[in-house]
Symmetry: C2
Subunit: 312 residues, 2 copies
């Protein structure tokens, strides 16, 4: 793992992903006290950063592996990402999905040609269903967040941001399974100038916050957050990267997430999902820290189920 | 009125408005059958194209006029636009606003330093309140849509679109008071290559459709459309431009507007207001006409009251 690894990753996947726009807003700067640069992964192909990691992971397989397909379990965006990345590369994608996944994400997987297997909404059920597909089809399992090639792919979002704004004081990303913030932290380490990586995490699923405190991977008691992309937990591949390169994690309440999401919709005029708003909510929660700083914020995606969306 | 007038207008206001991005989507192309280019005025300053006309109208006043201020009546976006444009130019803006205007628009006017006078939600009440301010303050009345300088300012959105895509077969804009489509039609006439201008209008406020049929300005019986920016009607300055340069108007039902808006939010990941969706709904309503054509669509704005928004 070094700078070159990341540069090669970016080169490898560049034809398959968007270099997404960076939004700014004087009003949100005034509200937060910082100078904010929003990396808009909601405009990424299939609507989320996960396209980056999925594409890289598939491209790093051997031709023989690619011919037998890939399999994953996902609460939503990685399912779509692996399906579309696989389609782009001529590979079959098997997707294990919890039954309660948003309909808009389920439909999108089918639209991208993914083959869905339903399971219960817990990690054990997901893992068992995926293992069965690996055994039956010889497909390669690709974890949504605890996979080094996925992490490296995810890192390219922050690399693009730092290419335009190399003097950021910090970059904030949401923390769910740890795959995005691990990649972000590597990018900030190798391409930033003393650029700190900070996490935003829902209070009710604060496994990463606690894990960094105790030094071991902690679990969540509940997954009851509106930020449906952040219900998963850290793994043994990304956790050491967080330990080494993440400065700290800011936890936010559910109502703070909704308020932050609303500000993004109203002021930037863009559709972002609750998980994206967690990173911005973290900035609003700790304004004193960010005051006067140049702050990168990874808006992770924009796949929202408008049927269930309510701001009031 | 000629090409030079439009070029000078664009030059005049360029420091005060954004050259907004143009979005495309393979999926929306597939759904519509056309090749669509969305001019994203939701990303314009204050969130709508009206910033263009308001800025131009104020800049065309004499210094003495500017010192006495400007006044308008508006259902929302023009109120914000005149307030911000006036603020940018160091001019006082008096805004006559119907009591039932969305709170988000009212708050924005105040935020931009506009001075609000409340009135009943009908044209007569608005005009009387505005006339009183003209009499008392010596302010210049600027109509939101029936003003040639406003129309010329609005034209710059389509000019920017045609500069990037000079071979558009047609441009669609929503039709409310007629100020946007009149400007769009002038731009298409002077800068397009046989580029037709087409209107999208809510069925329940189809005064423009009927006016073009009868050859005289018709009125609306109701203003009960979700497209709150399109509740006003044509005027004697913009109507002749529509008669000369608008090819035809497509009327759409309320549920078609909501469906089109939802597609724009879900697929482009951008926040657009119902009035914007009317233009896209018109394309979806008449796919046979647009099949295989290069189609410009003016997304007029993105100021939505999220408190009242419901997709289901």
């Amino acid at each position: 793992m070094n700078k070159q690894t990341l540069l090669e990753t970016r080169q490898r996947i560049s034809a398959y992903v968007h270099n997404t726009p960076i939004c700014t807003s004087h009003l949100l700067d005034d509200i937060s006290g910082g100078k904010l640069f929003f990396k808009c992964e909601n405009f990424q192909k299939m609507g989320a950063f996960k396209m980056r990691g999925a594409t890289n992971a598939i491209m790093q397989l051997t031709k023989a592996q690619q011919e037998r397909g890939v399999v994953t379990h996902s609460s939503g965006n990685f399912a779509q990402a692996l399906s579309l990345a696989a389609k782009n590369l001529g590979v079959t994608a098997y997707i294990v999905m919890p039954k309660n996944a948003p309909k808009v994400k389920r439909d999108a997987v089918l639209g991208y040609g993914g083959i869905i297997t339903d399971c219960e909404s817990n990690i054990k059920a997901r893992e068992e269903a995926a293992a069965q597909i690996v055994a039956e089809k010889g497909a390669t399992f690709i974890h949504p967040s605890n996979d080094l090639n996925v992490i490296l792919g995810n890192a390219t979002a922050a690399m693009e941001l730092l290419e335009v704004h190399p003097d950021l004081n910090c970059i904030i990303s949401p923390v769910g399974g740890g795959g995005l913030i691990a990649g972000t932290a590597l990018a900030a380490h190798y391409f930033g100038t003393q650029c700190k990586t900070i996490g935003g995490e829902p209070m009710v699923t604060d496994d990463a916050f606690r894990s960094l405190q105790t030094g071991q991977i902690e679990t969540n008691i509940t997954t009851n957050t509106i930020a449906d992309g952040l219900r998963t937990q850290l793994g043994d591949i990304n956790f050491p990267i967080l330990q080494q390169h993440v400065d700290h994690i800011i936890r936010v309440e559910e109502e703070e997430i909704v308020k932050a999401m609303r500000l993004l919709w109203e002021r930037l005029k863009i559709v972002v999902e609750p998980s994206s708003a967690v990173a911005f909510a973290a900035v609003l929660k700790n304004k004193a820290y960010f005051k006067g700083k140049k702050v990168g914020i990874i808006l992770s995606g924009g796949n929202v189920d408008l049927d269930t969306l309510r701001f009031s």
